[in-house]
Amino acid sequence: MTTDIDRRVHIVDHVVLPAAEVGPWLDRWRTTYLPGAQVRGMQHVGIAQRYAGPASVEVRVDWEVAGPYAFYGMRGQAAADPTVTRFWAETDALATSRDRSVSAAKEDDA
């Protein structure tokens, strides 16, 4: 892969939760996480869900960031924001698994 200053950054959060916790978690996400994330430069693309087991659901949250420099800036702001730390700590206390993947847009989609 080549470098590109304008290469869009795709971020995907995967969070597997007990099914009964999905609604309350999404409410907290909308009120306590989403507004700050948008200020940090994360553009919310969408949310999808799938059953990950008989009583668990995986929530997938897709984001985009304008480019690698914007990504580093966003990450630095998140590191300095205790509400972000608290949100993920509370999420990890509920979730059975969680991951965040960061990908580069294909060169011709940048």
Partner: protein, 210 residues
């Protein structure tokens, strides 16, 4: 001799040069942090000595002195001025050894992807010599022909921000590096890492990897 990274508020280049000729010193070079550096004190002094650096003439007594044990390095000789970049970081307490080793392997693979990295070294902090108060665990050093090599390809390469950065991203459950890093770079008139490795007993043969 031991390689040291010293963080100081300022450096006096006459004292830096004088220390290079000191009988207990194998290498001495330093420079002010360039704009874009974060987490430092104002300057970085690279030193090779078996003495306590703060006992040497001209070294501020309040300098943060970080002793290094280099675990992997490669020398890529070239002439002339350059940018010396130093990243000091702290891996969280309790991180399993096998995870730390994976982080180290991912880091030392960066020069395989990022062509602007010339000489480089990854070191662990020598806990037998470090101040008890220091929490830093690793120092990742590179040399570049110019600042564009650092602020351009190094930061923009997808290997860096889609993969290695997971170790640093506080929102990633895979992160192990604490947010309080020091990302520092300075101008250097000539080789730093190559000169240090030649003067240091911790230096390894070229292209040493664990």
């Amino acid at each position: 001799m031991t390689r040291w990274v010293l963080l100081t508020a300022t450096v006096d280049q006459e004292q830096v040069a004088a220390l290079a000729a000191h009988p207990e010193v194998g290498h001495s070079s330093a420079g002010a942090d360039l704009p874009g550096s974060v987490g430092g004190r104002g300057a970085v002094w690279d030193l090779v000595t078996d003495a306590d650096p703060r006992s040497l003439p001209g070294v501020p007594a309040d300098a943060e002195a970080v002793p290094l044990v280099t675990i992997a390095q490669q020398d890529v000789p070239f002439d002339g001025p350059r940018i010396k970049r130093t990243l000091l970081l702290t891996v969280a307490d309790g991180t399993p050894d096998e995870v730390v080793r994976r982080f180290e392997q991912d880091t030392i693979a960066m020069p395989d992807h990022i062509s602007t990295i010339r000489s480089w070294a990854l070191s662990r902090v020598d806990t037998s010599l470090a101040d008890a108060s220091t929490r830093r665990t690793h120092v990742w050093e590179q040399e570049f022909v110019d600042a564009d090599g650092l602020n351009g390809e190094y930061l923009l390469h997808p290997y860096h921000w889609t993969y290695v950065d997971n170790w640093f991203d506080p929102e990633s459950p895979r992160h192990i590096v604490e947010p309080a890093i020091a990302h520092l770079y300075r101008a250097a008139a000539g080789p730093v890492l190559l000169a240090q490795m030649s003067a240091s007993s911790t230096g390894r043969p070229n292209a040493s990897r664990p």
